[in-house]
C-alpha cells in the first residue's frame, strides 16, 4: 500500500513524484511557547500551593489571592503549556505522517500568534477577576470568541493538510488529532453560550444543575480531548519513532480509539456524584467511567508493548525513560479515575485534595513527562545536533517522577484524611470533628510536602530548560531538508485487495472518518445534555424560590470574581455527616437561578450552601476583612479591599435585564429600580452594622463587602421562604 507513495519503495501505481519541505519553524515556535508558558504555569501552581500553608504569600494584593490565581494556574497548565505542546507535536508529526507541508504557513502563524494572544489576555484577565468561574472555561465571552476563531484556523489548516496529503491512509496518531479538533470545538462552543451584560462580562444561558452538567461535560472532556486524545496521538508517533520499533497492535489501536472517544464523552457527571443532580445521570457518569478503564489501558498497553525488543534502551536513553514514565502515569491515572467515579469511593474523595492529587498524576506525570520526552527528541532534531547532556536529562527524569510521586502521595493522604474526618461520627451520632478548622490544620503539613514535590518537579524542568538551551546553542537551524513523495492517485484506480479491511478503507477516507468521530462523540453528549435542558426534573422552576435581589446579585458577582468557589462548595450531599455539619441536602430548585452555578469542586473551607443566617452580619464583616480575628487558625485570605471598594451599581439594571431575558422572573419595575432597591437593602445592612458599633465608615452602604454579606446571608434562605 505505502509503496506507491514512498520513493524508497517505488510502487506499481505511481502518482507524480513531488518535492516538498516541512515547516519546522512553526514547530520551533510552539516549542519555545511550551517551555515558556510551562515555567509560568508551574510557578503559579507552586505559589498557590504555598498559599494554602501560608496565606500571607498573596502579599495583600487582590490579584495574587488564591481564588484568582488558581484559575490562572489551571488555564496556563492546560491551555498554555499542554496546548502549545500539543500544537508542537501535531505540527511536527502530522506533516511527516501525511507527507506534506502544512496546508498554509499563514494559517500556522495565525494559529500560533492567536493562541499566544489568548493566553496573554487570559493571564491579564484572570488575576483581575474577570472570570465566569466555570472550571477551565473561566475566560469571558470576548476570549471565548477568540478561542473559537483560532480553533477554526487550526482546524482548517489541519484538515487542509490532510486534504493535501501524499499518504493514502491516515495513521492512528492522526485519528486522535481529528477526534481532538472536532470534539474540543463542540465542547467549547456548547459550554460557552452566554449573554453579555457588559464589554467583558456575561451570564451563561444555563442555570444551576443544567450549568453544572454542561460545565462538567465540558470540564471532564477537556481532560479527555485536550489532555488525553492529543497526547495519545503524540504517543503513537514519538514512542515508535524514539524506540524504532513497530506499534504493538494495529487492531488494539482501532478498538481502543473508537471505544475511548465514544465512552469518554459520557463520563462527565462523575464530577457531580451524590449531588442534587438526578440519580440516573449520576449512574450514567459512574458506569461509563468504569467502562472507560479498558479503552484507556488499551492506549497504555499499545504504548508500552511497542517497546518490546527495545527495553534495554530504557536504561540508556532518557527520551525512552520519559515516554515510558508518562505512559505509566497515564495507566495509573486512568485506573484511579474510574475508581474515584464509584459513588461510594467518591462520597469519600469528592471535595477533598485527593482529586487534586489525581489530576496531577495525569498532568505532571502523563502530560508533563510526555511533553518533556518529546522536547528531548525534537530539539536536537530541529537544531541539527545532539542533546547537550544525557546526564542532566536523567537527573530531570528522576526529579520529575519523584516530584510527581511525592505530590500524589501527599495529597492521597491529605484527601483521605479530610474525607474521613469530615464524615467521622461518634457513638452518640455526633460529628467526631465538628470544628472544620481541625480538618484543615491536620493536613497543612501535607500541603508543605506537596509543595516540596512540586518544587522538585520545577527544578527538574529548569534543568531541562538549561539542557535544551545548551543544545540549541550548540546546534544550528539549517535550510529545510527536501523530501520526495508521489502524489496520491484516486482511490478508484486501486484494486480491492489493496484496500484491505473496512477500517483500512476508512483510514483512506479522512472526511468520512471525521464524520464518524463526530457521531461517536455526539451520541453520549446528546443523550446526557438534551434531557438536562428540557426534562422537568432538571428544570424545576419552583415558584417559592425567589430570584436574587439586586444587591444579592451584585454580591454574588463579587463572590464569583474573587474565586471563592476555589475553596468553598455550595452543595450539601445527602449524607448524615453533611447534614450534621451544614444542614439538609441541597435541592435542584435552590440553584435554579444560579448563573453560573457555584456548586464548587473542593472544600478547602466549609460548604456555604446554607451559611445564610448562621452568623450575624458583623461576623461576616470582620471575618472577610481578617478571618483570623474570628477563627485564629484560618487559612482563608484577608479581603480588606472589599470594605473600601464600592459596588458597581451602575450596571445592576442591565444585569437584571439580562437575567430577565434568560427567564428569571424579574418584573420590569424590578429591573428599572434595581439600583434604588440595591441601595435600600445596603442601607439596612449598613445600619445594622453601625448599630453594632466599631464600624466608622460614612459610605458603608456603598461597599462591596455589604453586597457580599447580602449574598452570603441569603444562601440557603431562598429569598425568605426557605
Amino acid at each position: 500500500m505505502i509503496a506507491e507513495h514512498n520513493v524508497t519503495h517505488a510502487g506499481s501505481d505511481p502518482g507524480e513524484l513531488e518535492e516538498f519541505t516541512y515547516d519546522d519553524q512553526i514547530v520551533r515556535y510552539f516549542a519555545y511557547a511550551t517551555i515558556g508558558w510551562g515555567l509560568i504555569a508551574f510557578l503559579v501552581g507552586l505559589l498557590i500551593a504555598l498559599q494554602l500553608g501560608l496565606w500571607q504569600l498573596n502579599f495583600g494584593l487582590p490579584w495574587l489571592t488564591f481564588g484568582r490565581l488558581r484559575p490562572l494556574h489551571t488555564n496556563a497548565a492546560i491551555f498554555a503549556f499542554a496546548g502549545n505542546a500539543i500544537f508542537m507535536g501535531v505540527y511536527h508529526s502530522s506533516q511527516r505522517l501525511l507527507k506534506t507541508r502544512m496546508f498554509s504557513d499563514v494559517l500556522s502563524r495565525m494559529h500560533f500568534w492567536g493562541w499566544q494572544l489568548i493566553i496573554v489576555s487570559a493571564a491579564i484577565m484572570l488575576p483581575l477577576g474577570i472570570t465566569q468561574s466555570k472550571e477551565y472555561a473561566e475566560l469571558e465571552w470576548p476570549i471565548d470568541i477568540a478561542i473559537t476563531v483560532v480553533w477554526v484556523i487550526f482546524a482548517v489548516n489541519f484538515f487542509g493538510t490532510i486534504w493535501k496529503r501524499r499518504e493514502r491512509h491516515i495513521y492512528v496518531a492522526i485519528w486522535f488529532y481529528i477526534a481532538t479538533i472536532v470534539t474540543v470545538a463542540v465542547l467549547h462552543i456548547v459550554n460557552s453560550i452566554e449573554l453579555p451584560y457588559s464589554f467583558l462580562r456575561s451570564y451563561p444561558v444555563y442555570a444551576g444543575v443544567q450549568d453544572g452538567l454542561v460545565q462538567w461535560w465540558y470540564g471532564h472532556n477537556a481532560v479527555a480531548f485536550f489532555l488525553t486524545t492529543p497526547f495519545l496521538g503524540l504517543m503513537y508517533y514519538y514512542i515508535p519513532k524514539a524506540a524504532n520499533r513497530p506499534v504493538y497492535s494495529y487492531r488494539l489501536s482501532i478498538v481502543h480509539f473508537w471505544a475511548l472517544i465514544f465512552i469518554y464523552i459520557w463520563a462527565g457527571p462523575h464530577h457531580l456524584l451524590n449531588t442534587a443532580m438526578p440519580e440516573w445521570a449520576q449512574t450514567l457518569g459512574m458506569i461509563f467511567s468504569l467502562m472507560l478503564w479498558a479503552p484507556s489501558w488499551g492506549g497504555m498497553i499499545n504504548g508500552l508493548l511497542t517497546l518490546r525488543g527495545a527495553w534495554q534502551r530504557l536504561r540508556t536513553e532518557p527520551i525512552i525513560k520519559f515516554l515510558v514514565g508518562a505512559v505509566t502515569f497515564y495507566g495509573m491515572s486512568t485506573f484511579e479515575g474510574p475508581l474515584l467515579s464509584i459513588k461510594a469511593v467518591n462520597s469519600l474523595s469528592h471535595y477533598t485534595d485527593w482529586t487534586i492529587g489525581h489530576v496531577h498524576g495525569g498532568t505532571l506525570g502523563w502530560n508533563g513527562l510526555l511533553t518533556f520526552g518529546i522536547l528531548y527528541y525534537l530539539v536536537p532534531k530541529l537544531w541539527n545536533t545532539e542533546l547537550y547532556s544525557k546526564k542532566l536529562a536523567n537527573v530531570h527524569f528522576w526529579l520529575g517522577i519523584t516530584g510527581t510521586g511525592v505530590y500524589m502521595i501527599s495529597l492521597w493522604v491529605a484527601g483521605i484524611t479530610q474525607g474521613l474526618m469530615w464524615r467521622g461520627l461518634t457513638a452518640e451520632g455526633k460529628l467526631m470533628y465538628p470544628d472544620f478548622m481541625e480538618t484543615v490544620t491536620r493536613i497543612i503539613p501535607l500541603y508543605w510536602v506537596r509543595a516540596l514535590g512540586g518544587t522538585m518537579f520545577i527544578i527538574g524542568f529548569c534543568i531541562m530548560v538549561y539542557n535544551l538551551y545548551k543544545t540549541m546553542q550548540s546546534g544550528r537551524i539549517s535550510e529545510p531538508q527536501k523530501h520526495k513523495a508521489r502524489r496520491l492517485v484516486s482511490v478508484t484506480t486501486l484494486n480491492a485487495s489493496e484496500l484491505g479491511s473496512k477500517h483500512r478503507l476508512l483510514e483512506g477516507l479522512p472526511m468520512v472518518f471525521t464524520v464518524l468521530s463526530v457521531i461517536a462523540i455526539l451520541v453520549g453528549s446528546v443523550i446526557e445534555i438534551i434531557p438536562a435542558l428540557v426534562v422537568q426534573e432538571f428544570v424545576p422552576n419552583d415558584k417559592k424560590i425567589k430570584p436574587y435581589t439586586a444587591l444579592e446579585l451584585a454580591g454574588r458577582d463579587i463572590y464569583v470574581r474573587e474565586g471563592c468557589y476555589t475553596c468553598h462548595s455550595q452543595q450539601i450531599r445527602p449524607m448524615v455527616s453533611e447534614t450534621l455539619r451544614y444542614g439538609k441536602p441541597s435541592t435542584i430548585a435552590e440553584s435554579q437561578y444560579d448563573r453560573p452555578f457555584q456548586w464548587g469542586s473542593k472544600r478547602t473551607g466549609p460548604d456555604l450552601a446554607r451559611v445564610g443566617g448562621k452568623y450575624p452580619d458583623m461576623w461576616h464583616y470582620r471575618h472577610m476583612i481578617n478571618p483570623r480575628e474570628i477563627v485564629p487558625q484560618s487559612i482563608m485570605p484577608n479581603y480588606p479591599w472589599l470594605a473600601t471598594a464600592n459596588t458597581d451599581l451602575d450596571v445592576i439594571s442591565r444585569k437584571l435585564q439580562v437575567m430577565q431575558t434568560l427567564g428569571v422572573p424579574y418584573s420590569n419595575d424590578e429591573v428599572k429600580q434595581a439600583k434604588a432597591d440595591a441601595l435600600r437593602q445596603a442601607e439596612k445592612i449598613a445600619a445594622g452594622l453601625r448599630a453594632e458599633g466599631g464600624v466608622n465608615d460614612a459610605e458603608l452602604e456603598q461597599r462591596e463587602l455589604v453586597a457580599l454579606i447580602a449574598y452570603l446571608q441569603r444562601l440557603g434562605k431562598n429569598g425568605g421562604v426557605e
Binding site: M1, I2, N6, L97, K99, E167, H169, Y171, Y237, P240, K241, P246, V247, Y248, S249, Y250, R251, L252, S253, N274, P278, E279, W280, T283, L284, I287, F288, L290, M291, W293, A294, W297, G298, R308, G309, K343, E428, G429, K430, P434, D435, G500, S501, K502, R504, P574, V576, T579, L580, P585, G613, K614, Y615, P616, W619, I630, V631, P632, E692, G693
Partner: protein, 201 residues
C-alpha cells in the same frame, strides 16, 4: 479486520526481533504489528460493559433512581431518633442547684475555652462585640442562672448568630465555660456594650 494467518496479504514480513507479523503499513518509518487484542484486556472490557448494563438496568430502569435518597433518609431518621433521646435525657437530667454548684467549681478551666471560642464575638473580657455583653445582669435568654446560660451555650440561637456549641464541646467543657461566663458577672470591663434583654436583678 485483518485475520492473523501468515497468508494474509497485508502482512509484509515477520519482525526480526519478536518474530511477529508486521503489517504492510508504514508511516514516516513507523510500522504496525498485527497482534490480536490481549485476552485479559478484552475480558476487563467485557466485564465492565456487563457490569454497566446490569447496574443500570437494576438501578435505573427497574429501580426508581432513589436509592441514595432512601439510604440517606433511613440513616438520618436514626440520627434524629438518637438526638431526640439525648435531648430528653439532657432535659430530665439538669438539676438547677447541682449544675450551679458544679459550674462554679469548674469555672477556672473555662477561660481558655472562652478565649479561643467565644472572645471573637463576646469580647476578650465579655464586654460584648458581635454578641451581647455577658458581664451585665441583663439577659436575652433566661434569667442568668446556670441552667439557661448552659442551655443557650449548648444549643445556640441559630437565628441570631449565636452558634450551638453542644456538638463542638464536651459536656464538661460546656460546664466549664458556663462557669467562666457566670464568673464574669459584674466585672464592668471597659468598652462594655449596652445591656440587651431583660434586667434580672
Amino acid at each position: 479486520m485483518a485475520d492473523n494467518t501468515p497468508h494474509d496479504p497485508h502482512v509484509r514480513r515477520m519482525d526480526e526481533i519478536l518474530n511477529e507479523p508486521v503489517l504492510d503499513h508504514e508511516y514516516d518509518g513507523i510500522e504496525e504489528l498485527d497482534n490480536p487484542l490481549p485476552g485479559w484486556w478484552l475480558m476487563t472490557f467485557y466485564g465492565a460493559i456487563a457490569f454497566a448494563v446490569v447496574y443500570f438496568t437494576v438501578h435505573s430502569i427497574i429501580g426508581d433512581n432513589r436509592l441514595a435518597e432512601r439510604d440517606y433518609q433511613q440513616q438520618w431518621a436514626a440520627i434524629e431518633a438518637q438526638q431526640a433521646e439525648q435531648l430528653a435525657a439532657q432535659k430530665a437530667g439538669l438539676d438547677p442547684e447541682a449544675l450551679a454548684a458544679e459550674v462554679v467549681s469548674m469555672a477556672a478551666a473555662g477561660k481558655p475555652i472562652y478565649d479561643s471560642r467565644c472572645a471573637a464575638c463576646h469580647g476578650g473580657a465579655g464586654e460584648g462585640l458581635i454578641g451581647p455583653n455577658l458581664t451585665d445582669d441583663s439577659w436575652i435568654h433566661g434569667d442568668g442562672t446556670a441552667v439557661p446560660v448552659y442551655e443557650v451555650i449548648r444549643d445556640g440561637v441559630n437565628a441570631n448568630g449565636m452558634p450551638p456549641w453542644g456538638a463542638l464541646l464536651s459536656e464538661d467543657e460546656l460546664k466549664q465555660v458556663t462557669g467562666y461566663v457566670l464568673s464574669l458577672q459584674g466585672s464592668n470591663p471597659p468598652n462594655a456594650k449596652a445591656p440587651q434583654g431583660n434586667k434580672v436583678n
